[in-house]
Amino acid sequence: MALEILYFAWVREAIGSDAETVEPPDGVETIGDLIGWLAGRGEGYAEALGEPGRLRAAIDQVFASMETPLGEAREVAIFPPVTGG
């Protein structure tokens, strides 16, 4: 399955990209799995994604936890805790 991934704030900066399309292998079933798999893609990824406890995510523009299954997701965003308002 092709998945659009978006990165924001320091996650985006560490990875050096704000979006990419990936095809996760079998076994990547949750947001947490996806982050673990992406973290192995290189140095910037490891820095950005190595501590999932510091990250938040959304599936198709809705906040999701690390345990949320990707299911039919088309767009997954990975970012630090928000600081709006």
Binding site: R12, A58, Q61, A77, F79, V82, T83, G84, G85
Partner: protein
């Protein structure tokens, strides 16, 4: 009542927003305005956001506020992009028949924005330093109290 929700790079005028709320027949109008402070040599604040999600998220909280309290009007404006000290970041204003409803709805929306709206702030200082603002545990606590 359809909430007026705007996510924009442009500046807004608090007086204009407040005047519009005052003309809705309400008995009470509560509002909150967030402004960039120039503490510690701050030169600018850059607000990044997630455009596809932001308006939908803000619209969702505005609708939830309208469901919880009988409001006559609700305005939520959040800016993104580069802001300097003194610039307004956010405006939340609610009009209702009675004061308690207007005040509660305003506080609910502002607490929620801090924890559930997909914005990220980067601080840029006069000496060249720059850093992402960290989320505050106190904001999470303020948000959680509305879940009960």
């Amino acid at each position: 009542m359809k909430p007026d929700v705007r996510v924009q790079a442009d500046a807004f005028d608090s007086g204009v927003e407040l005047a519009a709320l005052e003309q809705r027949g309400a008995g009470g109008i509560a509002s909150f305005i967030g402004i960039v402070r120039g503490d510690g040599g701050l030169e600018a604040l850059e607000l990044e956001h997630y455009p596809a999600m932001t308006e939908q998220a803000l619209g969702g909280v505005a609708a939830e506020a309208a469901r919880r309290w009988p409001l006559l009007a609700l305005t939520v404006i959040h800016r993104h992009g580069r802001l300097v000290p003194g610039d307004r970041i956010v405006f939340v204003g609610a009009a209702a028949a009675h004061r308690g409803e207007a005040i509660a709805a305003t506080n609910f929306v502002i607490d929620w924005l801090k924890t559930d709206a997909p914005f990220w702030k980067r601080e840029i200082f006069g000496d060249g330093r720059s850093q992402w603002v960290e989320a505050r545990a106190a904001d999470d606590a303020a948000r959680v109290k509305w879940d009960s």
